[in-house]
Amino acid sequence: MTTDLRGLQPQHPSLFQLAADGESLDFLYARCPACGTLAFPADVPGCSHCGDPLRDAERIARPGRGELLEYVTLHVPLLPGMEVPRIAADIQLEGGPIEEGVMAGTDESALRVGLPVRAVAVALPDGERFACRFVPQAGACA
């Protein structure tokens, strides 16, 4: 049985939205009108590069793809209610910034530094929202 994610809402609407394929995620950025840097999330109150307040900054969606920079398995719940084990990963997003994300799955052997990854929607247990998880891009192997 598959879940039609198109009927669900994003867990963080300010960060991502469902892409046209109904599975991948697009990330939402603000383009700094002063220096052109892509700010993430789009609702940050200033450009970390030049300090522009980003008022009236253009909002753009980009495919949630990137490159795996580092990853570790979290063995204990570091925050209340957190499910473990999980793999936290630093990812160089194609849009520019480095963000910590969560990998789908718990098998580190499927990963390597430099692996191309993409963001996909994963339904949350509440049945109403989807979260962001990263998976290897098609054709990429560990």
Binding site: V44, Y71, V72, V76, L78, A88, E99, E100, G101
Partner: protein, 384 residues
């Protein structure tokens, strides 16, 4: 070359006092703090009314922690200022005291760090911005990733950083003010439960509480009060900075530590090789390897080998975290930076019974706060 820290005939630590770090308890914070302050006054041979001003480093107690505590010493009307800067709160309280003395505003200043665990709130959680991962602001995750990168780049294994915890638990076992008092073997450290990545629980600092105090005087004040210069340790440098854009992935903390330490050594006028003592932020074991390279007591890439050769042991080239560090002595936040100062002062005086680093003349206390602020102090014997 003279710098601001030498004004008003210099800044000296005249007295130190501690309340041992311990696991969270029902002990009121006032009892922790007053124990440390009274010990520091006695150590300096001064009375409370002689103190002109006090800086209180704390993260989790609440507003006006100093006033509530100090009234039990007598309401003398002194200036009281509270300082919060995450792990570096005590270090920044100490720096404020140094600046007040060097400018001549006061001649006798107290810096005290005191904290209880459990009521700390992080500004990062109030930023109003969502994150792709809810652990994006959790230090254990960032340092576990730094550890992976560090070990991979140096072709080292997880034992290399676990050895930091073995050394520091061993030092803490000899420190009566430390939270942990048991030596740990490599097998015990490696075999303790895993937290994040290759970091096991015995490679992570504990939650705790405690207090540390230092009475600082200007050189002018030292003479006026007739204090014994042989027991006064001179503050040779105080520098602080915050993060800059990463030069490469994962380099932000290294850049931050290097910048603050380099500036402090320049202000003190000594190279890193002159440091006999180095207290640093080993909240997670790998930090000691990374920062010992960044500060320059060993060559880049030599951190793990430096440790394995015994160069960072008490009695080695530069005793790193002779107190036991954050891993062994503990990390109650507010007190931690002043606890470093107390340890270095005790060592430079030759009074660190049971863990004395022979011939100690120069020491650095280095601290970072939530990975984004850094602060360094260099201290020396007054006759150095």
């Amino acid at each position: 070359m003279s710098s601001w820290i030498d004004d008003n005939d210099g800044v000296y630590v005249a007295g130190i006092g501690m309340h041992a770090y311990q696991f969270p308890s029902e002990t009121p914070y006032t009892q922790l703090g007053l124990t440390a302050v009274r010990a520091a006054l006695a150590d300096a041979g001064l009375a409370w009314p002689q103190v002109h001003s006090a800086y209180v480093g704390t993260t989790s107690i609440g507003m006006a922690a100093g006033r509530v505590m100090f009234r039990h010493l007598g309401s003398t009307g002194l200036a009281v200022t509270q300082v919060e800067n995450a792990s570096a709160s005590g270090s920044f309280a100490f720096r404020q005291a140094c600046m007040e003395l060097a400018t001549g505003v006061s001649d006798v200043v107290l810096a005290v760090g005191v904290d209880k665990h459990g009521d700390g709130r992080r500004a990062a959680d109030k930023e109003g911005l969502a994150r792709l991962s809810e652990t994006a602001n959790v230090p254990a995750v960032k340092f576990a990733m730094m550890a992976r990168t560090y070990l991979r780049e140096r072709s080292a294994d997880a034992q290399a950083m676990a050895q930091v915890a073995v050394k520091n638990h061993g030092n803490a076992a000899r420190n009566p003010y430390a939270q942990f008092r048991k030596p740990r073997t490599l097998e015990q450290v490696m075999g303790s439960p895993r937290v994040a990545g290759d970091l096991t629980v015995q490679q992570c600092c504990p939650r705790g509480e405690g207090a540390a105090a230092a009475i600082l005087v200007s050189g002018r004040g030292m003479r006026r009060l007739g204090l014994d210069p042989a027991r006064c340790v001179r503050v040779r440098a105080s520098t602080a900075c915050s993060e800059t854009p990463e030069s490469r992935y994962g380099a932000a903390a290294v850049d931050l530590v290097r910048a603050s330490a380099t500036a402090a050594l320049a202000q003190a006028g000594v190279p890193a090789s002159r440091l006999d003592l180095l207290e640093l932020h080993d909240a997670f074991s790998v930090e000691e390897l990374i920062y010992s390279e960044a500060i320059g007591v060993c060559e880049p890439g030599d951190g793990a080998a430096y440790l394995l050769r015994g160069d960072s042991q008490i009695g080695g080239r530069c005793a790193i975290n002779a107190s036991g560090g954050l891993i062994g002595m503990g990390h109650p936040l507010g007190p931690t930076g002043i606890g470093q100062i107390a340890e270095i002062t005790r060592q430079l005086r030759g009074e660190a019974e049971g863990r004395q680093h022979a011939g100690a003349t120069w020491g650095m206390a280095h601290m970072i706060g939530l990975g984004s602020v850094a602060i360094a102090h260099v201290l020396s014997r007054a006759d150095a």
